[in-house]
Subunit: 164 residues, 2 copies
């Protein structure tokens, strides 16, 4: 199966695509969608929607994980992140995909076995699980890979019903 | 000119369409897009996106006003409203429209001449300006009409440059 993780934001939206094949994780793609601060929110959100729709068509993931954020610094930040998060939810719904909405703690728990792990621990576990170097990879992309890994684990852990 | 006002929300999104013709305001359409609490956010946002896209095709407004909200009760509410607001911004950008993003105070100032007007005063001025009765009309729809009226006023007040 293939999972797409999304760390939502308007200036920088991190994405990570991970495949789980025969119990083994593999990095497929990772990066950031960046938008220009001088542009209107509407244009930035449209760019995000287009870029995510292209990613979804390109990688055809089976599931999407979009971080559920509770602890924003302030209400204005929450509003701005919410706008980008809404676009991510829409793009995934348009693609007809099931959506996981884990909290940051749930992602850390899934990847590090510790819901209080710090950014460095998460990055180091992501690199180890995917057997790749992540030096120079943006935090948002690494976080998105962690989301995708957790999404693969949750899907694999779920009991499968025999098809009728 | 025709303006569409949007009062963003995931459970209830208010919309109001107003025409300004020869200096006179006219009610074109108003109502609410309501989504089901039991559904996922993703499905609710998709319904909102579809409904707004249909409204935009139907009424072909010249401008859209989407309320800019600063004073949410809490961060979680701001996140949820932000998601719906992101969808509204996207739909307007996809339609290639200019977007006003007034604060609630700016809307009250435009419609009532008083940025501290209460809901009742706003509703009463909206009814008077459009020369219609608004009994039984939802608050969100009335607020959206106020947004559309303010949008018409701002567009009319702007100096027009002679076309080359």
């Amino acid at each position: 199966m293939i999972a797409l993780g999304i760390d939502p934001g308007t200036a920088t939206l991190g994405f990570g695509v991970v495949a789980l094949e025969n119990g083994k994780l593999r990095l497929v793609d990772a990066g950031c969608i960046r938008t220009t601060p001088g542009e209107t929110d509407a244009h930035r959100l449209r760019l995000i929607h287009r870029s995510l729709s292209t990613l979804l068509r390109e990688h055809r993931p089976d599931r999407v994980a979009i971080e559920r954020l509770y602890f924003q610094r302030n209400v204005q930040t929450a509003m701005t992140v919410g706008q980008a998060r809404g676009i991510a939810l829409l793009a995934a719904a348009e693609a007809g995909l099931e959506i996981d909405e884990p909290t940051p703690n749930e992602v850390k728990q899934a990847v590090c076995g510790n819901g209080a792990a710090d950014k460095q621990q998460v990055a180091s576990m992501v690199a180890r699980l995917l057997q790749v170097g992540l030096d120079g990879v943006a935090d948002d992309a690494t976080d998105a890979l962690a989301l995708a890994i957790g999404c693969c684990y949750r899907a694999a852990a779920r009991p499968r019903l025999a098809a009728g």
